[in-house]
Amino acid sequence: MRDLTDRALDTASGLGATYADARIVRRLEESIAIKSGRVEGVASGETEGFGVRVLVDGAWGFASSHRLDLDEADRVAGLAVRIARASATALRDRVALDGRPPAVGTFATPVEEDPFEIPLERKIGDLLAADRAAGAVEGVTFTESSYGAQREWKTFAATDGSFTEQLITHIGAAVEANAIDGDEHQHRSYPDAGGGWGAGGYELIRRLDLLGNAERHAEEAVALLSAPQCPAGRTTVVLDPSQLYNQVHESCGHPTELDRVFGTEASYAGTSFLTTDRLQEGFRYGSDLITIVADATAPGGMGTFGWDDEGVAAQSVDLVRDGIFVGYQTSRETAPRIGRASGGGMRADGWNRIPLIRMTNINLLPVDGLSLDDIVADTDDGLYLATNRSWSIDDRRLNFQFATEVAYEIKGGKRGRLFKNPTYTGITYEFWRSCDAVGNAGSYVMLGTPNCGKGEPSQSAHVGHGVSGARFRDVQVGVGKW
């Protein structure tokens, strides 16, 4: 590998690049899809290639290829330089990178049971058993179950002498029951509609206990068909971790990406209401209970690594502390513009994409005191909302609306009857300021999403979210006409 990265960096430097980095990525994937007890798809995939990023005349260029040979390294490096020179024809401010020591070393995700060594029959069998348990519940129309694993070998080298090698392993699985009656279609998924992903090996799948949870969720899907519609109005909501992590993702994760703040995602995903003047003024993002970090060192998180794709070491960065907005997710290019060093947030979706500021593990830290069950017991009247069903938020990340798969009525501190089609909406900072309870460390879980989209060409990232459940007051629920 080193001969190829050396060649690409030497060629780029020789053609005038003042900085260059090269990444070689090999990715192995495996997936299983089951529908109503039928193994519909078993697939494996392998991709490898390299990308070269260069700075020439203060402008960026990037080129990539699937061909791993020295001649191609020359061609790709040369193309990246040519592209950078074209970029320089429409440049107003030269790119300047922050300083950092050269990155050298190795990192590997801790794995107890290598998912790529577990026999395929066993993986199919485990998933099939859960799928059949869900499908055996009377009233279930169809079931869908999925399993996926991904392993990435990544070599990074830069003209400053950096050279790192990393091995990242992610895995996930889920079972989902669907119940349909006329125009009503309800579903319940476990652990999550996105697939219950994390960093680690097959031990994570065993701990999910898909089989032990399938029947209960299937019964709820059927029960939802005859459940009353979620009432409209303003009320107290308690968010289960399976929904709260999405709330963190959309309303704190994305708006604290500094590239969005500077407008470089404006033409696609949008910008952010958390502008730099709000960092200086100490903007109140949430109640005193809210502390949110971007922590690339968190165990089990899909945003955990040794170094980001600019060679910046993994670290934890405060975004919101005690309710006050205090920091951004940053890169070597953006951080100096606010007088800080990179927080190590740059990641690329494979060899053929440039790194962007991507969430690592955006975690809402637990608060000593109440467990999630205690929070429910402490709530007289409200709704307990679980498992994300849909999400939407405006282009500055202010007005959001979420739907969850299920709402449980809370009366007198107890979870009661189901409501179907629950939705809730609000303005980000008003919502987080209304939080008056966050679950303690005993309720804290690391969840995440394997499909966070950003960038043009589009990139999909695996990101983690540690959450423990929380309560919010005076929230608008039951949006729209039903």
Partner: protein, 468 residues
């Protein structure tokens, strides 16, 4: 004249090379014991120049190839994919697929791979040649300097209007070759290009414009820049408007989401077979003014000759004058319904089913001015943002307006309003269409490409507002 990259590209040779590789993989898999086999080879040379704050900040190139092998042992089906096309890579691919096929249970209703003819003997595949439709050498060979020229033209329009430009200009060559043991052998080369821009004024105005084309040189970058700049100026200093029901005129960029979302939620045979679709032949779901088709051969869009199973794309009428007519099929869903694939299969394995990737909504007879002129009091919406289904079977979708939302009174634009959230059934929306624009735009959506007109709709349920 377009500035070209040094390497000239021969699409016929590219297609032949793709097909030769597919043939080789089929032969290897049959030798390894496959009873049926399908090899899909995709390749692309993709370039994208991105600009923000009126300067180029990203500029990328990618050369990629992928092989997808569907390996059947009777009714045991496995899929393996790789980006390695050397001998070792292909040998490993076939070994992996064969091992997987031996491990999986039989698919009892496996309908077999599609052949070049349907049950009635009609050809559904076509010939093994590069397509004359959907390919432009100027796009395949477009240079970084050509895209920078486009970006600078957009930026110049923004500069002239005193606003900032953000956006991207992409040019892509895509190749696809499919060979299978049932006799399908097809290859297709296509090109696509897209220029889009968001522009922002110092006073909080934003505007959007976009064009997608097979031939990048037909995109008028300066005009795109001017359109977005004018919208950014016009939408400055927006005022708040209470949520509620308003008649709307949706510009083409907003209508794109309706076309995409209806295709995603309902116009797939798998969605119908699983009972989660609203579509039902003969059922009225839209106004008499609405006709929706999927047509991969229509040069108005971004043509695509074959699907990923090598079946030629058929023109499918999805909605005719408001009435559901048909949905799209791949080989597996077609087999279940005892009919031929319509050429809408995706790469295997595909638990999501077939989708319409080339949607067209028929143009109407109403000029843009009259669309707006017919609104007594309502809203003109440029585009939607971050839309997501809230209730898929009823096609209830939530999302935000973005980049130019205007209050219209007495048939005239009164001024800009802050962006609004909606929670609206798209089925009720197309049932409420009262006028269809006479012009259409070719755009790229999340499902593929679409050609759509602007629409005037009787009522739209806005359920919230934001601060900008």
């Amino acid at each position: 004249m377009v500035s070209r990259s040094p390497d000239r590209i021969d699409p016929g040779a590219r297609a032949a090379a793709g097909l030769a590789l597919a043939d080789d993989i089929v032969a290897r898999a049959l030798a390894a014991g496959a009873t049926e086999v399908e090899a899909l080879v995709t390749s692309e040379d993709a370039y994208l120049t991105r600009f923000a704050n009126s300067e180029i900040h990203q500029n990328v190139a990618e050369a990629n190839i992928g092989v997808n092998l569907r390996f059947c042992l009777g009714r045991r089906i496995a899929v393996a994919a790789t980006g390695r096309t050397d001998d070792d890579g292909l040998r490993a691919l076939v070994e992996r697929a064969a091992a997987t096929a031996r491990s999986v249970a039989e698919l009892k209703d496996w309908g077999g791979l599609p052949g070049p003819r349907d049950a009635a003997g009609r050809g559904i595949s076509g010939s093994a040649s590069a397509s004359a439709v959907g390919y432009a050498a100027a796009t395949a060979e477009a240079s970084p300097e050509f895209r920078a020229d486009g970006a600078r033209a957009v930026i110049a329009a923004a500069d002239a209007a005193g606003v900032l430009a953000y956006g991207s200009f992409s040019t892509t060559r895509e190749g696809m070759a499919v060979a299978n043991s049932a006799g399908i052998r097809v290859a297709h080369e296509r090109t696509t290009s897209q220029l889009l821009t968001v522009q922002m004024s110092p006073d909080g105005g934003t505007g959007y414009a976009e064009a997608a084309a097979t031939d990048a040189t037909t995109i008028d970058a300066e005009a795109i820049g001017r359109e977005a700049a004018a919208k950014a100026q016009a939408s400055a200093n927006p005022v708040s408007l209470p949520a509620g029901d308003y008649p709307v005129v949706l510009e083409e960029y907003a209508v794109l989401d309706i076309a995409d979302m209806l295709g995603y939620l309902g116009f797939s045979a798998l969605a119908v077979q699983e009972g989660r679709s609203f579509a039902e032949p003969g059922k009225r779901i839209g106004s008499e003014l609405i006709t929706i088709v999927d047509d991969g051969a229509d040069p108005a869009g971004l043509p695509m000759t074959y699907d990923f199973e090598g079946v030629a794309k058929q023109r499918v009428v999805l909605v005719e004058r408001g009435v559901c007519r048909d949905v799209v099929y791949d080989a597996q869903t077609a087999s279940r319904d005892g009919r031929a694939s319509t050429g809408h299969g995706l790469p295997a394995p595909n638990p999501y089913g077939p989708f319409p990737l080339n949607t067209l909504i028929e143009a109407g007879a109403t000029p843009r001015d009259e669309l707006i002129g017919g609104l007594e009091r309502g809203l003109l919406v440029t585009r939607f943002h971050y839309t997501n289904p809230v209730h898929p079977k009823l096609a209830i979708v939530t999302g935000m307006t973005r980049d130019g939302t205007f209050l219209v009174e007495g048939g005239r634009i009164v001024g800009p309003v802050r962006n609004l959230r909606y929670t609206q059934s798209y089925l009720e929306a197309i049932a409420g269409v009262t006028a269809v624009g006479q012009e259409r735009r070719s755009l790229r959506g999340f499902l593929g490409s679409a050609v759509v007109p602007a629409l005037r709709i009787d009522g739209w349920t806005f359920t919230g507002a934001t601060e900008h």
